[in-house]
Symmetry: C2
Subunit: 359 residues, 2 copies
């Protein structure tokens, strides 16, 4: 374990190469005073979005299941995902670390490195995502990591949950259920080799941070959430806030081939649907788009994909792939969130034990 | 233990009377969207100060030593103190709670009530300090409470640690050492009756939130910190950041009568000085003032005191008393932080075991 001041020094040193990008303005974008005073001082108006998440050892991660780097990566990824879910871009974060006193320095270094990797991977084009403050404490219990991300919405405003309208189409950025399946594999004792994507989704989720910012900047989407609690539950948040219902077409949900293969080994044919509809922590973005905006939004994503050299994500691989899947529609509120199968029949959510499944 | 959504509902309900003050603008001052979306959305430019603190059960508080209300009060008071130490005013906060699953509802209710009491006590004149987001998790270990306060600095700018200048005088808002002495009493088995102020200082510290905002708004002070780590160490932060030294006059340090009485029972005559100079968590404000500004600043504090009907705090009681004590001066950096006794002799900090004493 590092002493508090030493740990803060290490964090500052790790992120100080951020200054090299554009020291004058971009390196500490939006921040007048970072680590080292009683408060951080922000440029007025730089950030209008803020979100915080706590990861608890034994609840959100286990040291025998995830590497230190994975844990650090996930700890900040979940907060960056929340900013993305508003259509915004994160530019700074606070970091609260509560460590057991015997936690070893290499582990701490790995955790900080994972944090930095996520900040590098998901940073906006012209500046870095910098640590601007936090707190370091010791604990006799499980390790805890709290990240608080600060971001800025686009000039058109944040994509609130309350902005879905009847007739909008529902989109998602990629397949769901992977993280929960990965967790189940680990709980069952681990099949490390067969399902690397599922395990990776649990250990090092890949939030759609860059896609979220582009969707936000386009001004073409309505309401947006990230799928941290599971697709049905998160879409339910949009429906409650917007006073609408939603109909999901089961056969249109993107399915990762590993999830299909994993579920085929069970004699329970509905297992796959439970993962797709109820599995949490995938950090895809689910959002509504008015029909007249769909073509334009797809053109923008196609443009980003070409510019990026991304392969389009047909195999649902992690990575920023600019793929959008149309999976349903916003309807009258009386139906709530419903799911329709390939035959057009209403799929009974309670028949897959949905209530009890939600993580 | 409440379920997560139920707990969030309770927090919202507890703070919803805030809307009654001025629902149109003031109730949710600076906040466009509070609890309930992926991020809170702030009014651009409303907040430029942010600080976060984590309190860990067993490290920062014990359930058998403090009431639930005291713990909640302290949890937010420490963050509000950080905003005050920049000369700013807090207007919103995030709350991350990690609770053992068997934590009882009355305890949680008490904790939230204590939080609300602090927010009511330290709120700016025209609006409330509102919760705008957070995270609720369970933990197998000690309870943890993280508060992240958002505030706004005065138009003249935040009172940074780097703004002290040679020749400035050093002021403090009240006596130090109480909280540490209170902790020692509890560690020794508790003398509940004899030293209520010392125990209270540990359990329910009274940060100088309102004074900090007025000092900031006056534009008359230089650098400021709160005494969370102990006077010498915190003043050391100003000296490092400002590249100056500081000389403290030992006989000018305000001394609470209970602290004097408590220390008199020991045969160690330097015990009092150790508390005064090294005791942490008193959350007084220590700051520099250019000599030409002193009279004006004292006039402003006198005015606030009359307006407030405060008794002036001659007895060092908790409460907003608008008292300022001149305790030293900013000097050349070569001396670092030094302490001079009543005879003008340099007091040897290491002679009181300062290094080892700092909490």
């Amino acid at each position: 374990m590092y002493r508090e001041f030493k740990l803060i020094e290490r964090i500052e040193a790790l992120f100080s190469d951020a200054d090299s990008l554009d020291p004058a303005a971009a390196g500490k974008h939006g921040v007048r005073v970072g680590i080292g005073d009683d408060c951080a001082v922000l440029e007025p108006g730089a950030f209008d979005l803020i979100s915080t998440d706590t990861l608890v050892e034994g609840v959100h991660f286990r040291r025998d299941w995830s590497s230190a780097e994975d844990i650090g990566f996930k700890a900040i990824a979940v907060s960056l995902s929340d900013v993305a879910a508003m259509g915004g871009r994160a530019g700074a974060f606070l970091l609260n670390l509560s460590f057991p006193p015997d936690l070893e320095k290499p582990f701490i270094d790995g955790l900080l490195l994972g944090l930095k990797q996520a900040c590098d991977l998901f940073r906006p084009e012209k500046f870095y995502i910098n640590p601007i403050g936090g707190d370091v404490t010791s604990t006799s219990g499980p390790m805890m990591i709290t990240t608080t991300a600060l971001g800025s919405s686009t000039p058109g405003g944040a994509l609130l949950r309350s902005q879905a309208q009847i007739g909008d189409r529902v989109f998602i950025t990629g397949p769901t259920g992977l993280s929960h399946a990965g967790l189940d594999i680990l709980l069952d004792g681990g099949e490390e080799v067969a399902y690397p994507a599922l395990l990776r989704a649990h250990r090092r989720p890949y939030p759609r941070v860059l896609e979220g910012a582009v969707i936000g900047a386009s001004g073409l989407a309505g309401a947006m959430v990230d799928t941290s609690d599971g697709l049905i539950q998160d879409l339910g948040h949009i429906c409650s806030a917007s006073n609408v219902g939603a109909r999901i077409f089961l056969d249109r949900l993107p399915r990762h081939p590993e999830l299909i293969a994993y579920c085929e080994q069970f004699s329970d044919e509905k297992k796959l649907f439970r993962y797709l509809l109820g599995g949490g922590e995938d950090f895809q973005l689910c959002f509504s788009v008015p029909e007249r905006h769909i073509d334009e939004l797809q053109r923008i994503m196609q443009h980003e994909r070409s510019r990026d050299g991304a392969d389009g994500g047909a195999d649902c691989s992690p990575g920023t792939n600019w793929e959008l899947f149309e999976i349903g529609e916003i309807i009258d509120p009386v139906e709530g969130v419903s799911v329709v199968d390939a035959q057009g029949e209403k799929f009974q959510l309670d028949s897959v034990g949905y209530e009890h499944f939600a993580p």
